[in-house]
């Protein structure tokens, strides 16, 4: 029997992290699931391409939720060989004056490093961290894995205790305002602390302050997946298949089948039909609502919101190197960090840099962040070699066909100002046009499937009609990075998607025979 001839309870569209998570959780709880993936390989952003022993993590690499994502425990991913490596430091900022600011998961260590630049800011860091930790534990981490409530209810829920009220307060602030709030004054320290939201392409003045504790504290203790990010997706695939799930690759979903007003299956671009009462899309809103379903089969207000979906203004340029010998930072502290930021000194530098990025016409890299995974996980490069990943925040609309190579050269030149790089035996330039071409959900290089703005976050991601997984189309669900709580391998959308779809399927099973569906 061919996969398309079987009966399924649910079809999940898209084999990225959220699709795999959603399908694996559903299969694990006994549902018959088919996962459709357009590409030849599942994993989506959890992509590790191997070139002759060099493992290139082309998209996701920093795992902020390695120790708290419930799926690790619930799917027992450790028993499928998923392990993490926690570098000694999360981030390092070598500065022109010979200082090096190092951010680690130990706030005392970080504060000591800040104190070398500014004693006052070191105290501010302590005070801030003391508030951020309980915010994360009590609110931000649990909320990542719970369905979102409308903002007014969420704000009300936060009024229960002092920490909640503080969180509600900073949620209204932009990232720079948060630094003002806690009293940071040293321009170098402020640059470093703003680097995290900036590297993810966020606008530093948008009132999305609740993301700041997540980005700062979680990035400070972020992990690599041992062996490469694809290890995580292949473990999810194994859970899915070993629980009876079906994975169909080279299967591009083309059309949602709707019968009697409810989703009934999916037709692929090559004409195969997969039938199930529940269909979960992990694609972006444009693909799901305007493509698969079609404007004429959804309420006008949903079509409007899908059409108004905003892509990300800033994306990433990647340069991947296979190096014979070392990538040795001149400042040894820089080499201990998972990610090393190079090129900028002060907060003003950062704002000006981002203004130039947004204005377009980039010629060369001004600010890069560098990760050398093989320093912490030797399996990612052949013995005696290293693999380095260099990224720069850029705009999608640049002439990348001709710009990619010189821009890559400039990334390398900037790295070489701070590090001795051995003989380069492999080089891959990945302009944002390649991101969009490889992973169709990331339109215009939108690595999070769509901009992080207040109107596209929280209860409004992807819109107030769909952020709780269900959509106005009965039997159609959404669970990708464009859905609450968003992308970046938080694992929230897929996890929540499985819960909601599981309940939907259970309710169907308990319906008395003959009851209308």
């Amino acid at each position: 029997m061919r996969p398309e001839e079987a009966n399924y309870d649910a079809i999940v569209i898209g084999g990225g992290p959220n699709g795999l998570l959603c399908a694996a959780h559903l299969a694990r709880s006994g549902s018959r699931v088919a996962l459709l993936e357009r590409r030849h390989e599942t994993g989506g952003g959890l992509n590790t391409d191997e070139y002759f022993g060099f493992r290139l993590n082309l998209h996701a690499i920093y795992h902020m939720m390695a120790d708290v994502m419930p799926s690790y425990r619930e799917l027992d991913l450790a028993s499928w060989g998923v392990g993490h490596v926690f570098p000694p430091a999360g981030a390092a900022f070598p500065l022109a004056g010979g200082e090096c600011l190092v951010v680690t998961r130990d706030p005392r260590e970080t504060a000591a490093s800040i104190a070398l630049l500014s004693e006052a800011d070191a105290s501010c860091y302590h005070a801030m961290w003391d508030e951020f930790q309980p915010m994360l534990e009590r609110y931000l981490i649990p909320l990542t894995y719970a369905l979102p409530d409308p903002p007014i209810d969420q704000m009300e829920a936060m009024q229960r205790d002092e920490i909640g009220r503080r969180l509600a307060g900073i949620s209204e602030l932009g990232f720079t305002e948060i630094l003002d709030e806690y009293g940071f004054t040293d321009p170098r320290v402020r640059m470093a602390l703003l680097a995290f939201p900036a590297m993810w392409g966020l606008d530093l003045s948008e009132p999305l302050g609740y993301l700041f504790p997540l980005y700062l504290c979680r990035m400070a203790g972020s992990a690599l997946v041992k062996g490469g990010s694809h290890r995580l997706s292949s473990a999810l695939l194994r859970v899915l298949v070993s629980c009876g799930g079906t994975v169909v690759d080279q299967a591009e979903a083309a059309r949602l089948i709707i019968e009697n007003g409810a989703a009934a299956g999916v037709e692929t671009a090559d004409g195969r039909v997969f039938r199930a009462p529940a269909v979960v899309s992990t694609l972006n809103p444009e693909q799901t609502f305007l493509g698969l379903v079609g404007r004429d089969r959804i309420p006008a207000e949903l079509a409007e919101r899908a059409a108004a979906w905003e892509w990300e203004e800033r994306t990433l340029f990647g340069l991947h190197l296979g190096v014979r010998g070392e990538v040795a930072f001149r400042d040894p502290r820089a080499g201990e960090a998972l990610v090393t930021f190079l090129g900028l000194e002060t907060e003003d530098d950062l704002h000006e840099h981002l203004r130039r990025v947004d204005a377009g016409g980039a010629q060369e890299a001004e600010w890069i962040h560098v990760t050398v995974p093989s320093r912490f996980d030797p399996t990612q490069a052949p013995p005696g070699h290293h693999v380095a990943r260099i990224e720069a925040v850029v705009r999608y609309d640049e002439p990348w066909d001709t710009l990619a190579a010189p821009f890559g050269d400039s990334c390398l030149a900037l790295l070489e100002r701070h590090a001795d790089v051995g003989e380069i035996v492999l080089r891959r330039d990945v302009p944002p046009t390649h991101i969009a071409a490889r992973l169709s959900t990331m339109k215009r290089g939108s690595i999070k499937h769509g901009a992080y703005t207040p109107l596209q976050m929280g209860f409004f991601r992807p819109n107030d009609l769909c952020s709780r997984v269900e959509t106005p189309v009965a039997g159609l669900f959404v669970a990708g990075a464009s859905v609450y709580p968003g992308g970046m391998i938080l694992g929230g959308p897929g996890y929540l998607g499985a819960q909601v779809v599981g309940e939907f399927l259970a309710a169907r099973e308990t319906q008395p025979p003959g009851a209308p569906e």
């Binding site: 070139y51 290890r231 690759d249 399996t379």
Partner: protein, 579 residues
């Protein structure tokens, strides 16, 4: 409701298990194949793979978005494999893409021809008659017709049957395969067994360019055309690829996916990033393996109740993973002496904005008759010159007139292989000496990477003038060194594992005493392309090994499922006389 519990079978929690019925080292097509067989049979199986992705040589890479290249295996040769039915690979997502015209060739003097098997549309007879005359065409068609009738049986008798044991009182002429050959090919006689393929084509009077393509098809897939005793394997090789006529949708990695999903669906555990560093032997018996200290496994020692199966190169298995104190010194020496000569390939991949257009071919390559593999310089003289460079002078060919170059393309019949507007010419193979054998040192081919690529591009442009350099969007190369670097089991970058000569083929592959997949260590079995019938993603070694496991292990024999059928040509130890 929880299907996971039922798929395991023995009720033991999966999470912390470190004991299985079988442990398989290596997750290439052979390792995954045997894991799928054993898991579906009902055994608990653990597969340990060193790399971060399964598949081994069944691999596709996507160096630029949407462009799928084949660093190693490219055509599916295993259409006759019982595994497709027995493991229900279709159910696990396997799909084939078929080409109407598998191969074509162009001679140095500008004669073009199509070459295929099950494709009446390619108008083979007309092409052949115009090139080689009516008599040869009639003979060729007679052979083709005979093969067509019995192709599956013939292939199964050669490839999907365990080799006989040379200690038995029977020789090649007593083997059941002889009956199938005689039946399929009236022209066959037993003297073929002693011939080289060059001698056989000459004896049958087959002229160029048909001869060239037959020799080429044989050499690139294993049997050396000039070596005695390799005529029958050479004919079988040619039959293999024409019988399958295509590649899996999405490329050969899809075959690995289907095998892995079959194994997983039946409860197997597959771990990547977990290199096996030692095969544990206690009391003369293989009892498990030890994984590298940095493997992502909770237990680094994995025990095997019934057997350890090594899907690694025989040299790695017996020289690196088993302590020499468990093996007789002469066996260790014999394994060291296994030749790696032949089969080291320089592989180029081009992303282009146009398909090559060959003016010489005219109508022969029009429309859907455009060949998936176009062999340039299709001449047996060129081939013999190239072989002389590679074997006798131990250098890679440097003169473009000494290269016979196959240009493969799959996106003409499988749209998943390239984005609209681009084509992927992959692979483009060239034979090279093994690195350790190269006159100018093991890095010689790596140093000449660009120079060889230039030669290929020059030759391509000579035959297809539209292929100017501006049409080449990107190029990638893997040399034998690169391939070995990536797939450790390709020792010496050698794709065949061992030399495809009379001394190391069939009942002598890799050595007579190892030919039936057993090793001197009880419970340790070989399941790699270094055993008969070799690589090529045939899923043949796993199928053949199952016959041996049935003979050796009572629990395997006692649980034989209804979906299993053995090779009708298999001779058991009891029948052969060594039981």
């Amino acid at each position: 409701m929880d299907r996971r519990a039922t798929s395991v079978g023995d009720g033991e929690p999966l999470a912390r298990r470190s004991e299985f019925d079988f442990v398989v080292a290596g997750a290439g097509p052979n390792g995954l194949g045997i894991a799928a067989y054993l898991a579906k049979w009902g055994f608990s199986v653990c597969v340990l793979e060193a790399r971060q992705e399964i598949g081994g040589g069944a691999e596709n890479a996507e160096p630029i978005p949407g462009c799928s290249i084949d660093p190693h295996a490219t055509y599916l040769y295993g259409a006759a494999a019982p595994a497709f039915e027995q493991l229900q690979l279709g159910k696990h997502g396997f799909r084939m893409a078929y080409t109407k015209n598998l191969a074509g060739g162009i001679t140095p003097d500008g004669r073009a021809f199509a070459h295929g098997f099950y494709n009446p549309e390619s108008r083979l007879p007309e092409t052949y008659e115009s090139l080689m005359g009516r008599d040869i065409t009639a003979l060729y068609l007679e052979i083709q017709e005979g093969l067509r009738r019995r192709a599956r049986d013939l292939l199964r008798a050669v490839y999907w049957t365990p080799p006989y044991d040379e200690r038995w009182a029977m020789g090649p002429e007593d083997q059941p395969v002889l009956g199938v050959l005689k039946d399929a090919l009236p022209v066959f006689d037993a003297s073929w067994f002693g011939m080289s393929l060059v001698e056989l084509t000459d004896a049958l009077g087959i002229p160029d360019p048909l001869k060239a393509i037959a020799l080429f098809g044989s050499w690139y897939n294993g049997p050396h055309p000039s070596w005695k005793g390799m005529a029958v394997p050479g004919v079988a090789c040619n039959l293999l690829y024409t019988y399958s006529s295509g590649s899996p949708v999405g490329g050969m990695h899809s075959l690995a996916h289907a095998l892995a999903r079959c194994a997983l669906a039946h409860g197997a555990r597959i771990y990547v990033n977990a290199p096996v560093t030692e095969i544990l032997v206690e009391g003369g018996r293989a009892t498990g393996v030890r994984a590298a200290d940095d493997a992502v496994l909770e237990e680094k020692t994995v025990r095997a109740r019934l057997g350890v199966i090594s899907a690694l190169h025989v040299r790695q298995t017996l020289l690196d993973l088993v302590s020499p104190r468990h093996l007789a010194p002469d066996l260790v020496q014999n394994v060291r002496d296994i030749s790696l000569k032949g089969g080291s390939l320089y592989v180029a991949h081009l992303v282009t904005s146009e398909l090559p257009r060959y003016p010489d071919a005219g109508e022969a390559f029009e429309g859907d008759r455009y060949p998936s593999c176009t062999v340039l310089n299709a001449s047996s003289d060129v081939l013999l010159e190239e072989m002389r460079d590679v074997y006798s002078f131990r250098v890679h060919p440097t003169d473009p007139d000494h290269y016979i170059v196959p240009i493969c393309v799959h996106d003409t019949y499988d749209s998943t292989r390239a984005p609209a507007g681009l084509h992927v010419l992959s692979p483009i193979y060239l034979q090279c000496p093994p690195p350790e054998d190269h006159r100018d040192g093991p890095d010689a081919v790596n140093r000449a990477k660009d120079e060889i690529l230039e030669t290929i591009l020059g030759l391509l442009e000579r035959y297809a003038p539209n292929m100017t350099r501006d049409k080449v969007v990107a190029s990638f190369v893997n040399t034998p060194r690169d391939s070995e670097f990536r797939n450790m089991a390709f020792v010496g970058g050698n794709w065949y594992g061992v030399r495809q000569s009379e001394e190391e083929w069939w009942s002598r592959r890799p050595l007579p005493e190892l030919a039936r997949y057993r090793t001197p260590i009880e419970g340790l079995y070989l399941c790699n392309h270094t055993s008969h019938p070799g690589g090529l993603c045939l899923i043949a070694v796993p199928y053949n090994l199952m016959h041996i496991l049935i003979e050796d292990i009572d629990r395997v024999a006692a649980t034989t499922p209804d979906w299993w059928y053995p090779s009708p040509w298999h001779i058991s130890d009891a029948e052969g006389g060594t039981a």
